[in-house]
């Protein structure tokens, strides 16, 4: 809880720092504050979790683990933001503040114990993101991304709310435990149709939020239009949080009626996988490719919810961690390449292997991880997902997933091929210290998790 308070107070502090022109203090203060928040979270680890604030929140291990990883990723991303926002406009403090506000929303999202909190968390996060997507005021793509993201987000919120309302009407409470007990006591015969409709609408709303097909169409545009750093934030931290919320809701409340919503979710998963992968094949822009691949990763993450079990939390956690870290590397390199070559096509990566071996190496690690090659974190994530699904004897789904994994090789390797095997005369670019730290750290995390996943595998 202190974490949440700290993360909510920090941005206000930043705003006032910005007012009093303490520009250089912003980033350090943010990082230190977040580290403190991280410490507070982890300190809670061994305390027994009770629903607090009249059952509004519950900081169980699930919540702590996900808060920790989201905060960590945010720190990594913010370290990339050195001199990034200054190039956009002068309201730097505001940007940091807004990112932190959305982080606060995310912490609520992963630790809610009441649908009210779910809604509030999602909204705090989304509203901040609407702004962040459009911070490039004069860049038309950015405006458009902001508007699309906003309209779609509000739209999906409507569905989510209607779902919550119907569930409330059926069960008479927003409390997760009450809803679970209600679902347990009502068999599919006696259950209220409102309840099922509510679940369906919530699935729609949440799928919008996590960008799962067929509600994904806003994702690529928004990811492409937004400033790259913000895209990194969206596609890592936000996605992680979205799935954490998704999983928390379904594993807590709706597990007993899974035979009802399972087929729908399966269809969505398959659709997400295929659409994400196949469209990613045809992209010429690395950024847009990442956007589509993030859709397909959403598909893999949905596996954990489809194959709901005791290990689902772990699977999502590991997969999300691996995915986030790898994506952070990818976006960090993308930012640098964009600064040098101006565009984000695959061609602009040509010859990176010669000019910046380190950069090329970490990006290779990231791509291998995203593609799920062993000895990287991505493989462990996929392994967990698949084994969960196979354990539920949904082998045909796994086979489809495997085929998609094979497809994904094509576009992930495109950048590797470009970096190493296609030569272009390019000057070595200077990498800021912050970037080096982030890249090295992320790569190390990726490989460590890939080689010895036990460090985080049995957290939840």
């Amino acid at each position: 809880m202190n974490t949440l308070i700290l993360i909510s107070v920090l941005p206000i502090l930043l705003l006032y720092l910005g007012l009093y022109k303490a520009k250089n203090a912003l980033l350090p203060v943010t990082i230190i504050g977040l580290l403190a928040a991280l410490g507070l979270v982890v300190a809670k680890w061994n305390t027994v979790a009770e629903p607090i604030y009249h059952g509004m929140m519950q900081f169980d291990r699930f919540a702590i683990a996900f808060s920790a990883i989201t905060i960590l990723s945010t720190i990594l991303i913010l370290m990339l933001s050195k001199d990034y926002f200054e190039r956009i406009s002068s309201h730097v403090a505001e940007y940091y503040a807004i990112i932190l506000f959305s982080l606060a929303g995310i912490v609520v999202m992963v630790s809610y114990h009441n649908l009210t909190m779910l809604f509030i968390g999602i909204e705090i996060m989304s509203v901040s993101l609407y702004i962040l997507a459009g911070i490039k005021k004069n860049d038309f793509a950015s405006n458009e991304a902001a508007l699309k993201y906003f309209l779609m987000g509000a739209f999906s919120t409507g569905f989510l709310l209607f779902g919550i309302t119907l569930i409330y009407g059926a069960t008479g409470s927003f409390d997760l435990d009450v809803i679970r007990d209600w679902a347990l006591t009502h068999t599919s015969k006696t259950v209220d149709p409102m309840f099922y409709t509510g679940i369906m609408l919530m699935i729609v709303g949440l799928c919008f939020k996590v960008g799962a097909a067929p509600f994904h169409f806003w994702t690529p545009d928004v990811y492409e239009g937004s400033p790259t750093l913000i895209t990194a934030f969206m596609s890592t931290v936000v996605k992680t949080a979205g799935f954490a919320a998704f999983l928390r809701l379904f594993s807590t409340c709706f597990a007993s009626v899974s035979d009802f919503w399972m087929p729908t979710l399966m269809a969505i998963t398959i659709l997400t996988l295929c659409i994400g992968n196949i469209t990613a094949l045809y992209q010429q822009s690395f950024k847009r490719m990442l956007a589509f691949s993030s859709i397909s990763h959403a598909g893999y993450l949905l596996f954990a919810i489809v194959a709901l079990g005791v290990n689902s939390g772990n699977s999502v956690f590991i997969y999300a961690t691996a995915y986030s870290v790898a994506s952070i590397i990818a976006f960090a390199v993308l930012i640098l390449v964009q600064q040098q070559s101006g565009n984000d096509n695959f061609e602009s990566f040509n010859g990176l292997g010669k000019s910046n071996p380190f950069l090329a190496f970490v990006l290779t690690v990231a791509m291998l991880s995203l593609a799920g090659i062993p000895l990287t974190a991505g493989f462990i994530g996929k392994f967990f997902m698949f084994s969960a699904a196979v354990a539920k004897l949904q082998i045909w789904m796994v086979v489809i997933a495997v085929i998609n994994a094979i497809i994904s090789i094509f576009y992930y390797f495109r950048v590797i091929v470009a970096m190493y095997f296609r030569s272009a005369d390019r000057t070595e670019m200077v990498i800021p210290g912050y970037f080096n730290v982030v890249l090295a750290l992320s790569a190390i995390i990726t490989i460590i998790i890939g080689i010895y996943p036990s460090v985080i595998a049995n957290l939840i």
Binding site: I12, L15, Y16, L19
Partner: protein
């Protein structure tokens, strides 16, 4: 709080609305038929103190008004939260007071922020 007032209590309001509507519409029609009709072109042009009409009136206006509107929306909604508290203020006691003060402090922080940002200066 006090007893819920059911839908029936709102019936008179409906009646009053009907009366009001009736009055307005009736009067409109009355004046429409009573008044003389001698329309000339000049009468029907927008009045700009007798000068020739320049451009369209539907032009974008100062962003300040828009800013005020947004701030109003935000603050007014925050005020909504205070009503239930104010009404049940005595039941909630000191705890409620403290919590609401924290709430208002946050509100004030935001308020001071926009003041410092000169969002409300008209010049």
């Amino acid at each position: 709080m006090e007893a819920q007032s059911s839908a029936i209590n709102y019936l008179p309001i409906v009646i009053q609305m009907l009366v009001a509507v009736g009055f307005a519409v009736g009067t409109m029609f009355a004046t429409h038929y009573l008044g003389p009709k001698r329309k000339t072109k000049d009468k029907l042009t927008p009045f700009e103190s007798g000068v020739e009409v320049v451009g369209n009136a539907r032009t974008p206006i100062s962003i300040k008004y828009f800013l005020v509107a947004i701030l109003f929306v935000l603050f007014d909604v925050e005020v909504i939260f205070m009503y239930p508290w104010a009404v049940n203020f005595r039941e909630m006691g000191v705890e409620g007071l403290v919590e609401m003060f924290i709430f208002m402090a946050t509100l004030l922080l935001g308020f001071i922020y926009i003041l410092k940002k000169k969002a409300l200066d008209w010049d």
